[in-house]
Amino acid sequence: MGDVRLRRVKQLSHQRGTESTGADQSALRDRLAALRGPGRQPRPLDSRALTALAANPGCSRRALLDSAGVDKAALAEVLGAPANFGQSQFAFARGHAFEAGATRDGGAELVRLLCAHTGQAPPDPQLLECPDLTAEGPEGRIERTREALALAQARGQTGAEGGPGGWSVLLHPMVRLTVAGAPVCLEPDALVVDGDGGVTIVEIKSFPILDGSAAPTKVGAATRQAAVYGLALEAMEVRAAESVLLVCPKDFSNLPTAALVDMRKQLAAVRRQLRRLTRVEELTAALPAGTSFDLDLPPDRLAGAVDSVPAAYAPECLAGCDLAFHCRSQARTGNDPAVLGRGTRAELGALTTVKAALDAAHSDPPPPEPSDPTHPAGPSDPPDPAVLALRRAARLRAEVLGGDGAAGADGAGPAGGGPCR
């Protein structure tokens, strides 16, 4: 990854023009605030939640609740189906201690790790700045981040008397991304601005890099999160490096080590997924009048409101969405094959319920007559390949297991003869 150079600021013009006008925005914000319930603060979306949202772009329910800033965990509790999530305080304490260690000395350690990967010479400590980003409220913090970032880039580009430019580390900046037409505030762990004004996103994680490698699924999730920050920066007309600096504990220790991970694929994927999200205006417009997700409402009214927004449940929801148990029980009641996995649902094509699939599997094949030229094939059995495959599968299972093939753990004995000879 030696030649991943940090990019200069680039003016991005294509973002303009697609933004809604200020009046639209504030009307939408009012509408979402009303849905949340009077006087409730919106629950901020973090990048993890956003990647989970992006991973299920077909789910309007989640898109709407997240955009409105409804506390889904509390909502699930009211609905009587709380998620099994939560963070252990042991993990929390360790994660915090690790992040504090990795960002100590005004980010000097982060800069050292970055330089070790890019081959850049680390700056003189004098030339390293760590601006204070504290400000009132998210809007204030976003503004403060914007200023600090512009300043840092300027510092980088104009070294004193042609000397090397100054470096900056922005710890916990705040950026904004428009998701499904509604603004979302996000807080990356850190941004490093180098002596050429190039910006690198830093993601600090507490899973280890063990003997030089880390769990691919975790790296993938971290990279997708970083990609979300990349898009948010783009919206601020800052183009960050296309590789994220992933900082993790080394082996079994608490010492930071890092990897520079290419996130171009994730950038493209998240961009595509976010584009596929239905715009929140359309979702709100489709709601029945009087819909509210106010957590003080009686559970049955809340359930009614939630269920009026279409969902797209899949088992992956269990790992990423607080409403998973609620949506799952709904999907189970509705006999939705997606409870077994997205793949199963796709496989079944037009058979959209488990019952329909089982009926098809155990249906009798049509009599062979239709090929008779005097009787043109009737409409009785359209040759749905899913139906044919299921029927064959059921026949083969019955051939081996005998009868209806139903048997629990204790009834698995072979009925169709011994091993294949």
Partner: protein, 551 residues
Amino acid sequence: MPLMHSLARMEAMAAGRAQPLTTVLHRHLSRQPLVLVPLTTAGEVGAPLGAMLGTDRDHPLLLTVPQPKDRDLRFTFLSDLAEALLPHLESALEETEQVREDAEVCTDAPQLLVPNAPGAEFVRLLGRSMRFRRTAEEDPQTPYPSPARVPLLGRWLTHYGERARVPGSSLLLSMTEVLTRHWATGQSSLEDQHLGALLAWLRAGPEGGGDTAALEVETARDEHGQLRTPPSGPSTDPAFDNRVLAPAVDRYDADLPGSAERVHQLLGGQLRPVWDAMWESVDLLRRLPEGERIASRWESDRWSYTAHRDRLRAGEPPQPRRDDAVTAARKLSVRERDQARLQAQEALDDPLVMAERRLAGEAFVAEVTDSWMTYSQGRRPMPRPVLALSTEDTPQWAPGARAYRVLPSGAAQPAEFLAPEDEPADGSADESAGAPGAPGELRLRLTGGMGRAKEPAPGSVPEVGDRVCWTLFEHAPRGGPSLPEPEDTPWTHGGPPQSGTPLPEPRTAERHGTGGQSGEAGRTGGTGPPGVTDPVAHSTLPDPVTAEDLL
């Protein structure tokens, strides 16, 4: 997921109870396995919190760490773990059988059972965290000397953990993976990771109810917000950590009397239900008849165990941190081969698994409707009988493609598909056998497995009216691409391995002269009679040749 499995899951949903995916057992299950249920500390890498283990279901050993951040306490735990596990892991070192003049293999190997895949991964991680430790005896200067037998346990657990990645191996088994290989539940594979929920589906009788029972296991909490059925580890439930464990650990930190016992008791309460679920699972698996080819795969495991023993005895250093490029590539290609072999063997052992392959067009059952003799060209014409077959299956074949069936001896008999116009029947063919080329009508020419004589050996040619199962896959798939020797590793792939990680001489496999082994070999390797150009001579000494055993 294969459609057959989707169907079984949907049937399980409808019936409220698990449905079989197999008719026989496809993993070796020892007479005396050691069950190990580990717990890890959230957020700490490879930091053990406790474990319940043993070979006697009524007398588990419970080991716990009252303050997981304390290195000394962790060392005490690991030391106790070594004392408890090593006798089991070393229990089969001495009993061997001589398979060749220069090769002996342990007659058995100890087995470890853990609840789920993350549990198996944790075993690997524990192994990694221990095997490079130095004891004060080895290195008086070492800052935190490890208790005596801990590094040795690390090497064993590394070996077992690594071996668990080999398809079909059974030294270290994850219970949820074994159960889901044999039964389909009415939930997704994600939910099947919870041993308790999985068992709820398996326990349900004809009246169903597995779905509600599984939901109860997964979500029911008591008045303190604690899960009634603890998760199957190695992670604990966050609510347990925060509301129960953390206060208990705080009391331990404050040096309150009885606080260590309290942590011990609390962790025991989390572990015991999983422990019981493990043994219930063992009972379920024992009810299945054993697949015929399990023994040959278990033999590979015994070789792997023996090779690890030999490395320890030879005083070799611990397994390296990272595989060099050649070793890694070897492992990969061996695993691909093992995967193909496992799939073939499971299908051959089990008509229900074969049914999946039939559905996929990779195998078919056909009735012999006619047969006639032809001979090969050349100086010594050999019998090449042609069979006309009729099937309701839909094999994906092309002229010249190979098909195999199992001979009564257990060996594989090869054949090739003929195009409809090839080898017409000599006029006497019964018209009712169906026109060649019509759907379901096939022709195969047997190309081996009939002995060396001019007439096929008795029983080596199916007769008209026989129903025979043919596969389009080999019964004993061979290894992947050839790779350079380790010392010839190109610099682009990291160069030859560093000295200090010596690689043992690869042993060449041999099939002949293995005495009592040959019967096994015939079946497992699918080797036909001599003269048949059939695959795999190397299945009696399978793994010693491979990188798996260098671990």
